[in-house]
Amino acid sequence: MNSEFLIVDGVTKRFGGLQALGGDGGLSFTVPRGTFLGLIGPNGAGKSTTFNVISGVTKPDTGAVYLDGQNLSETRTPEIAAHGLGRTFQTPRAFPSLSILENVIVGADSAGERLGAVLSGRWRRDEPKLKEKAAAVLNRVGLGSRMTGSVASLSGGELRMLEVARQLVRDPKILLLDEPTAGVDPSLQGKLSEILARLHEDGTTLIVVEHNLHFLLRIADTVVVLQNGELLAQGSPQAIRSDEKVVAAYLGNDHAA
């Protein structure tokens, strides 16, 4: 029980007439601390909705999510983030009125975001350190030469990496990435998989949604397969590849090992 860092417990969610998550007993799965979990499933299976429920963007109809023993269903999104949960969105989100570097710095929790510290000017001390850290993260995701540019100058794949960088600068304990390789070129994908392997080594819990199984199944250590909002299978990448139900529902026969 102690090692179960994240617990999704009987979660259901309806949108109008559509049962997006959880059929009968609701969706349940657990993620031990330090796991690299791949979350896969056909379009509309409920992967992004699962992320939204975990991060507090969407409140579940029934059931709950626990992170490190705390019930997230009663916690607001910014507080969940403050608890060390980071996430990206399937459609990359950026802050157009901030520079690329600022888009990353703003991911960190600066003392200067408290009004008291603003008026006393106490935040100035920390700012150079934050800048340095953000610049280092931008280098890691291949945007080191674009720091002063504007967000509007970034391509779709670069925006995705920018969003990853904004989360990395927070040093999250658990990081949720929604299709991080979509529209990202092979060389950047290589960088990304290095970054993820490194985070994994350092003990960060990772949940990654991907349709790019070539990318995901090489680096994930457990896989959860969703279909119609329900858990279809859970197991090691090898076991999932050869699972008949998964092959039938999602992988197609070409993938059968």
Binding site: V57, F89, V106
Partner: protein, 309 residues
């Protein structure tokens, strides 16, 4: 027309109302909040100042409270009172979006207006509080009007300094992030609700101070000085100046004040001609409004400046 008096009036009211426009600029352009009840915080400041400084009621007075306090206490209470009113009105409304927030803040201001009008124990109802005390400050032969002009200028400069300090800090950066994309900002731990609330309350303080200064200048506070027209005035000034910069907010306000003072300065022989002038003023306001919006005059000037900075 007396040029000197004209310039002093423009300086005084230009700076005074710029404080309101700057606060609105912070709330709207940077905080993404539409406050259509600006006049309420201004009125709270003015009434707070009057009540703290006036003498206890006597004779025909219907008001209950007069603390006979010093002017600086009245001034401080004006800022605190406006902040309290912002807390009271912001708490239930700030979760609302766009036009809904506009409507509720407008409604709050109307409620306050009719409260001041009908509840005579606060400020004599529609009669208002006359003979509001002025601070007994005088430098040699300098007339009061000059002192108030300088005070308004100082208040505006301090307001700018504080707002700049906020905007140039990580707090301002987080505000921009929140306005750009709330969901992404919350995903990195920015508490959107908390920040909006803080910005709303903080920016009410200078409006309250401006209300106190206004009460000192007019020596009268009454409900018909604090109608929705004040709110519209400030919004027009903000739109005229372009919402993007502080300089624009100030230019827009001063332009509007100049226009009003010019019209006010024209001497009228008869009531009829004054009536005509009043309607011409409205038409001209509309026409100028259209022209400036169409060509975004001030916005261009101030934006070019900010690009150059």
């Amino acid at each position: 027309m007396n040029v000197e008096a004209f310039l002093v009036a423009v300086l005084t009211f230009g700076c005074l109302f710029s404080v309101l426009t700057l606060s609105l600029n912070l709330q709207y352009a940077r905080g993404g909040m539409i406050n259509f009840g600006t006049v309420a915080y201004f009125a709270v400041g003015a009434y707070a100042y009057a009540i703290v400084t006036q003498e206890p009621p006597s004779g025909l007075d219907q008001y209950l409270i007069g603390l006979n306090g010093p002017w600086w206490l009245g001034f401080l209470v004006a800022g605190v009172g406006a902040a309290c009113f912002a807390i009271l009105t912001g708490w239930p409304t700030l979760r609302l979006r766009g036009e809904y927030l506009a409507l509720t803040t407008f409604a709050f201001a109307e409620v306050l207006h009719s409260f001041l009008l009908n509840e005579r124990r606060i400020g004599n109802g529609s009669v208002g509080l006359a003979n509001v005390e002025r601070p007994g400050i005088s430098w040699a032969d300098v007339p009061d009007s000059y002192v108030f002009a300088v005070a308004a200028l100082l208040l505006m400069l301090v307001t700018i300094a504080v707002y700049r300090r906020i905007l140039a800090s990580p707090y301002g950066r987080a505000m921009d992030a929140v306005r750009d994309d709330e969901m992404a900002a919350e995903a990195v731990g920015k508490d959107v609700a908390r920040m909006r609330f803080e910005v709303f309350v903080i920016s009410a303080v200078p409006i309250g101070f401006a209300g106190a200064l206004y009460a000192m200048i007019t020596t009268l506070v009454s409900p018909d000085l604090f109608t929705a027209e004040v709110t519209f005035f400030v919004w027009i000034a903000l739109v005229l100046g372009g919402e993007r910069t502080m300089l624009g907010a100030i230019l827009g306000t001063i332009a509007l004040v100049v226009f009003q003072e010019v019209v006010r300065g024209i001497p009228f022989e008869t009531v009829r001609s004054a009536q005509i002038a009043a309607s011409v003023e409205h038409m001209l306001t509309g026409a100028i409004f259209v022209i400036i919006l169409r060509w975004q005059v001030f916005e261009r000037i101030s934006f070019a400046r900010s690009q150059a900075e």
